[in-house]
């Protein structure tokens, strides 16, 4: 009785249904539209582009929220997992791993063409990718917590955004801060914020799953 088959299944479903590519498309769309909105000033784009990618990544992390827990809860999959002796925290951990694997790498990949569209220097791109590698687990963790909290509510898409965005502010601040040169402190703070959210997520989401079953 292990979590591995379920993690594999979650990843296969995310990539198979096209859900994993939705954040990628969103990110590229923002990177394409932004130059139209502010004008083709390459200096301005290069200066603000990194932050734009961060905002886009943060908003993109909300896209899969309603597919994370709710469908499995309604189909009885989570019941069947509980039945097999998996603690709610372990189920949440498995979901977190699968969710990051189908969210983090695609977003990091999409940042490459986005960087070209926004005229980011290779140096800024490198910092952006390091920041995303550290920050996307935090965004995935937040998404999971919100998904578990709102799984027992109907039509909770907008509520999910309201819940997640304030909590995502530190990730955004440190992630965007890490784009400047000589920003070792921001990267460390980003890593710390990410670690904290990832550590809390299985317990918070597990508690929400348990409460939702009563």
């Amino acid at each position: 009785m292990s979590l591995a088959p379920l993690i594999r299944r979650d990843i296969a479903r995310a990539y198979g249904s096209g859900g994993a590519w939705l954040p990628v498309l969103f990110l590229l769309l923002v990177a394409t539209l932004f130059p139209f909105a502010v004008g083709p000033d390459s200096r301005l784009l290069g200066k603000t582009g990194g932050g734009i990618v961060w905002i886009a990544a943060l908003l993109a992390s909300l896209l899969p929220v309603d597919r994370l827990i709710l469908p499995d809860k309604e189909a009885g999959v989570i019941d069947q997992m509980t039945l097999r002796g998996h603690a709610d925290e372990m189920i949440a951990l498995g979901k977190l791993i699968a969710h990051w694997l189908s969210f983090g790498p695609p977003v990091m990949l999409a940042a490459l063409p986005a960087a070209a569209l926004l005229n980011l220097s290779s140096e800024t791109l490198a910092r952006l990718e390091i920041g995303l590698a550290l920050g996307t687990p935090a965004l995935a963790a937040l998404g999971l917590i919100v998904a578990a909290l709102t799984a027992s509510l109907r039509g909770s898409g907008a509520l999910g955004g309201l819940l997640a965005l304030p909590l995502a502010v530190p990730v955004l601040i440190f992630g965007a801060g890490a784009l400047e040169s000589g920003s070792g402190a921001a990267i460390k703070f980003l890593a710390a914020a990410s670690l904290l959210l990832v550590a809390i997520a299985p317990f918070a989401a597990g508690a929400a799953l348990r409460a939702g079953r009563e």
């Binding site: 088959p5 299944r9 189909a75 019941d79 069947q80 039945l83 097999r84």
Partner: protein, 205 residues
């Protein structure tokens, strides 16, 4: 050997006490059928036995793995039936042979490549029963196992249940129709008189 034991169990959903003082024990080779009118708490009893609900009072002991077939299918709708079933078989440590055998016994082998969402009500019920049969768990919890099944389906369910009992399994089923095998019965109706537990029970319901 007792596989499932409940002692003095009470069940409350929200503000409503469904039943209390329920004691039952299920040994290897035994089947129990929970009877009672709609809404009396049959499904809640099944979920209590599965550990998906916490009892408001009393203790529940399970010795061995549990397999549950309730109204939730727990199969991925976009996957072909055989692959959807084999996901649970892999989690349970059973092999694909067990899945093939269970599908054979419920006459759904020809549906192996059909996506689960295309299946009819009766076929879905058969699929859920196949998931339970392939799990290899000794304790089966069946909520309305005969719902949606045709005459052949009920006969196959009876054979499946009888074989499981013969192998030393135990079954707790909730249904308002009789099980196709000899089984003890529990009626929940006498256990709903819960004066001591229901100080704020509303009248008129």
């Amino acid at each position: 050997m007792t596989l499932l034991a409940m002692r003095d169990v009470a069940c409350r959903r929200g503000d409503r006490w469904l039943f209390s003082g329920l004691t039952l024990s299920l040994s290897a080779g035994e089947a129990l059928l929970v009877r009672g009118r709609n809404g009396i708490g049959k499904s809640s009893l099944i979920r209590l036995a599965a550990g998906l609900l916490r009892p408001a009072a009393g203790t529940i002991d399970r010795h061995g793995a549990v397999a549950l077939a309730d109204e939730l299918l727990a199969l991925d709708l976009d996957r072909p039936l055989a692959r959807a079933l084999s996901l649970w078989a892999r989690i349970d440590g059973a092999d694909d042979h067990a899945v093939a055998q269970a599908m054979e016994r419920l006459s759904i082998t020809h549906l192996s490549d059909v996506p689960v969402r295309m299946l009819s009500t009766g076929q879905r019920k058969r699929a859920a029963l196949a998931r339970v049969a392939a799990s290899g768990a000794p304790i089966w919890l069946l909520d309305e196992p005969g719902n949606g099944l045709d005459v052949d389906g009920v006969a196959q369910l009876g054979q499946l249940v009888a074989d499981h009992l013969a192998r030393g399994g135990a079954i707790l089923a909730a249904s308002h129709t009789p099980l196709p095998v000899a089984a003890g019965e529990i009626d929940l109706a006498p256990l709903t008189q819960t004066e001591t537990h229901a100080p704020d029970d509303e009248d008129g319901w």
